[in-house]
Amino acid sequence: MVPLKKALSSSLGKKYLMAVSGIALMGFIVTHLLGNLQLYGDGVAFNVYAKGLHDLGPLLWVAEIGLIGIFLLHVAVAIGLQGRNRGARSSRYVHAQKSKEGPSQMSALSKNMIVTGGVIFIFVVVHVLHMKYGVFSSEAVNAAQVQVKGEDAYDLYGRVVEAFKNPAWVAFYVGVMLFLGGHLRHGFWSAFQSLGALNHRLERPAIAAGAIVAVLLAAGFLGIPIFIFITNQGA
């Protein structure tokens, strides 16, 4: 028997941690997108949804702390893995390594998960400061209130609209979502492979599913700033 602590610190164990935290983060991303799809509407539904989340109170705090924990675990283990991988070949090939294709998934995306992941990490920090704390929003927008079901609530939709009237924010969000798609392209199937969930029959479908998940999630998210930018041109 392998003790759990030892198992998790082995090279395989670290990949189990990456996979489980990655799948949990993908679960969050899907939920986040489902909520954000309401931004394709007139904003009322989105503000109701935002107030609903806010009214969860302590429950939301627990969920947020858990999410931050999982996210930081994913980042910390990734940095450890990357250090070890770089160190395993300190004398690099002079002629660049070239794929022999076939079963290989070697690509700029699969080799640079740490880069796409790093971009997403920076984005998450900016995004939380931006949309949760209003650090980059105007005072008027940060003070705006709306009536939701007869109660006062914060006009989160207003903050989103203000941001995405600015083409720079649109470009930033759209750009990062492409990195997210790139990360999921290899990350989705890789998570299941790392957990040993795949075999020769499931491998190809899982890789294909990864491409579909990457495109759907990236498109779903990056459509929001574009949609808001276009629909608020005259406003």
Binding site: M1, V2, A7, A88, V94, K98, S104, H186, G196
Partner: protein, 251 residues
């Protein structure tokens, strides 16, 4: 064929290496890559210089001794062959061919293109065996093994331990090698006795040797002369998880 060989020359494990250009002329396209290297070495020795050190043994693709990284690809451009089974017809006249050793910190260079792959032997020593009481040879089919399992185990046993998986992996991971042996034995009844201990010890040893982690890139399988599939790595992950939850095997 006339070619330029750009070969890694390194005097020893601790000396700095460099690429040296050698012109090779009048090579038969049907010569094997290693025969071409032999011709080049004879030419170098006639000039009174030290030949290029490289390893080979059977030269029929079954022993796993040869192994060169040719233009950035372990065992050269063709899939499912070892370097000895690579022929000059797969190259073109006038080509510049870069030849480097397997590069991994766990495979220190001994000289030029020869690396020390004892790390793989130590992974096998750690658990890649079965303990049996020796005695008379058992009757054929005395131990029933399902055809599909036997076939699958045989495919895993095809690993010749050449180390191309490590050389091709961007992380220099030995996961494909280790998983092939773990899978081979986990699939057969004879391997059940030490099943949990085996995967634990072999993974421990693999980590101890300093190989990188598996990022599921799959270049190992593409470079493998025996086409060990990525599935075997997934099986090793399952075996390791199993070893976490299943108590010690009888021992």
């Amino acid at each position: 064929m006339n070619l330029t060989l750009r070969v890694w020359k390194q005097d020893g494990p601790d000396s700095a290496g460099r690429l040296v250009d050698y012109p090779v002329t009048d090579i038969d396209p049907n010569a094997s890559f290693l025969e071409m290297m032999d011709i080049l070495n004879e030419q170098i020795m006639k000039e009174g210089n030290d030949p290029i050190e490289f390893e080979s043994d059977c030269r029929e693709g079954i022993c796993g001794t040869c192994g060169l990284v040719i233009n950035g690809q372990a065992h050269g451009p063709k899939r499912a062959v070892a370097t000895c089974q690579l022929y000059m017809r797969d190259f073109h006249d006038g080509q510049v061919i870069t030849v480097e050793p397997w590069r991994a910190d766990s495979f220190p260079v001994i000289k030029d293109l020869v690396v020390d792959r004892a790390a793989l032997d130590r992974i096998i020593s750690a658990g890649g065996y079965i303990s049996v009481r020796t005695g008379p040879k058992p009757d054929a089919n005395a131990t029933p093994i399902a055809k599909d399992k036997a076939d699958h185990a045989f495919d895993m046993a095809a690993c010749i331990g050449c180390g191309a998986c490590v050389a091709a992996c961007p992380n220099a991971s030995a996961s494909l090698f280790t998983s092939a042996k773990v899978s081979h034995m986990a699939l057969l009844p004879q391997g059940q006795v030490e099943r949990s201990r085996r995967v634990k010890r072999m993974v421990d040893q693999m980590d101890h040797e300093g190989f990188g982690n598996c990022s599921n890139i799959g270049e190992c399988s593409a470079a493998c002369p025996k086409k060990i599939p990525l599935e075997s790595i997934a099986r090793m992950k399952r075996e390791y998880l199993r070893a976490v939850v299943i108590p010690n095997d009888a021992s």
